[in-house]
Symmetry: C2
Subunit: 335 residues, 2 copies
């Protein structure tokens, strides 16, 4: 398996290195063939090469099976949006669930945000119309709405059979209206799945008030961005949440959290989200290629993370005293 | 004082009637001259007249000094956005604070969201480009950004001297970039005010994690919509939060909450937000006209609401057992 690795900025290199140590240990134990290829991208690449995602790396990215991406700083928009759109990684899957041993704002939450990943204001078609007036396009298409809706309903079928469509069609009657219409059309093919709808302002509130009620949240790009941060916080810490950007053949895995420059270089960052990205990546690749060793390795990593957390071995963001290194070694010891 | 009254849908008529009873009692006690003019608007007006905001009422609205607006249902976008933009009520002021006697998710919160009220995707310039592709314009202008920033910094000066600019300039570098640039320019004229910036996804999270840190939140229209719901929830209940839509001469006051059709007609809606709208309206009008009786009456209503809440007389949404009527009578008794 060829993996392109973007270490990123801030705590990025720390959490990515931790995750790669776990990956290497799992690869040795379960006999996986892993090739890692470094891609410099982000604020540091921008100042070094004048490009946040230097074009000389595009070949590595295109020829990789998967991408592991650490958090990026100020230039994140130029890195992550380019990767998502350039590789047509149209489904941003962001689970939020409460892990054993972690104090969460709300208990019993287990939901997945299914965020459309290629459109909305993320098309970045922005212009100054005059010196004083700026405009951005918000684009919503039937095709993109349909394929993301299918992802959501397929996931729901394998879970609690519930999809909440989040939009703001009371204001955006045409664009969010289209998204909602298409989602409802797709819903007709899944008669066993209960569908309801919420406006984004209410949905954010309910994500705090009664997050247990959500199973699958299907939404457009920007609302999904906002909802996934709050969902991660509510379930314990944004330091725990992995995410996958799925295309038809390739996928990119990244923690939901940012570069956290305030704690960078201190060795105290929580690598859990990035380690769970590795776990997810291996399970995905094993499922795709039919190679059970990858699935087994991915499951072992996940189990090891859960055991580490539930035995109270925590990094400072969760109230524990472990360094990034010490936590990583705990996870490796449980493998 | 001429007030146009929109009762609205769902629990709208109940909470507006409650607030008007309080207004009438205060007017009698403090010798205010109040003229009320009904305006039918919302879902019921739409089905009756074919227009959510029937044009025959525009005269009443234009000749009023202020508007009291209850929540509106599905057609809210066609009522409230039209009023805000049509009357150029450019500053949406949404305080969130914890009231004594009310159990809040977080204590010690006292912040104000200053939401630009005329632009962003609320310009409602939306089109189907083809049968399958919809587009909406997101408009941000220097003029609108500048006047809302001034409102925010003036408020900050009278409070804790802190403004947090919320945007998503890492993706929307042109539109949110302009908003941020202009806000920073305005900030230069307020050297005593500390300015910081947050992305909307982080801001929503911090609104739950550490809302005490916010004083004034300055933001664009849609982000303000989302932030104000969550801020209201965090400080106790969305049933408590009033808001003002301010123009240069006219203002419209409305609760932040929606029409809550699920509890409509049961007589258990919390009228606090709408009563606080009345209080705010009177204080505003008194300040504007220099007539102290209005200010006194507005303050008396606010004090009475706070006394009622802190003596544990609460509606069901706050864990109490009072009906809308009983709560209203408590407030009137304390006037
Ligand atoms: C960094 C930023 C461009 C990105 C986004 O808005 O998508 C991030 O917030 C995320 O959620 O992955
Ligand atoms: C009803 C809706 C159009 C409105 C808005 O989005 O502004 C409401 O949510 C609000 O915050 O006042």
């Amino acid at each position: 398996m060829r993996i392109a690795v973007i270490r990123g900025d801030g705590i990025g290199p720390e959490v990515v290195d931790s995750a790669l140590r776990v990956l290497k240990a799992a690869a040795a134990k379960y006999g996986l063939t892993i090739e890692l290829h470094d891609v410099e991208a982000g604020d540091s690449a921008l100042s070094k090469y004048g490009e946040a995602l230097p074009s000389k790396y595009w070949g590595i990215i295109e020829s990789s099976d998967a991408i592991l991406k650490g958090p990026v700083g100020e230039s994140a928009g130029d890195v992550v949006v380019k990767l998502r759109r350039g590789l047509d990684l149209y489904a941003n899957i962001r689970p939020a669930k409460v892990y054993p041993g972690v104090k969460a704002l709300r208990d019993g939450v287990d939901l997945i945000i299914v965020r459309e990943n290629t459109e909305d204001v993320y098309v970045r078609a922005e212009h100054m119309l005059t010196n004083d007036v700026a405009v951005a396009l918000r684009v919503i298409s039937r095709r993109a709405s349909e394929r993301i809706a299918k992802v959501a309903f397929e996931l729901a079928k394998a879970r609690r059979n519930k999809v909440t469509i989040v939009h703001k069609a009371n204001v955006l009657s045409v664009t969010d209206g289209l998204f909602r219409t298409v989602a409802r059309e797709v819903a007709l093919k899944y008669p066993g799945v209960t569908v309801n709808e919420m406006y984004i302002d209410s949905a954010v509130m309910d994500m705090v008030r009664r997050p247990q009620d959500f199973d699958i949240v299907l939404t457009t790009n920007l609302y999904g961005d906002i909802l996934s941060d709050i969902a991660a916080y509510v379930t314990g810490s944004i330091g725990l949440a992995p995410s996958a950007n799925m295309g038809d053949s390739k996928a990119m895995f990244e923690p939901v959290h940012g570069a956290a420059f305030d704690i960078a270089g201190k060795g105290i960052a929580n690598p859990t989200a990035t380690i769970l990205c590795i776990s997810w990546m291996l399970k995905w690749w094993g499922g795709k290629t039919g190679n059970g060793s990858y699935v087994t390795a991915g499951e072992a990593i996940e189990r090891s993370v859960l055991n580490t957390l539930s035995s109270g071995k925590l990094t400072p963001d969760l109230g524990g005293g472990l360094t990034t290194n010490a936590f990583t070694e705990e996870v490796m010891a449980h493998l």
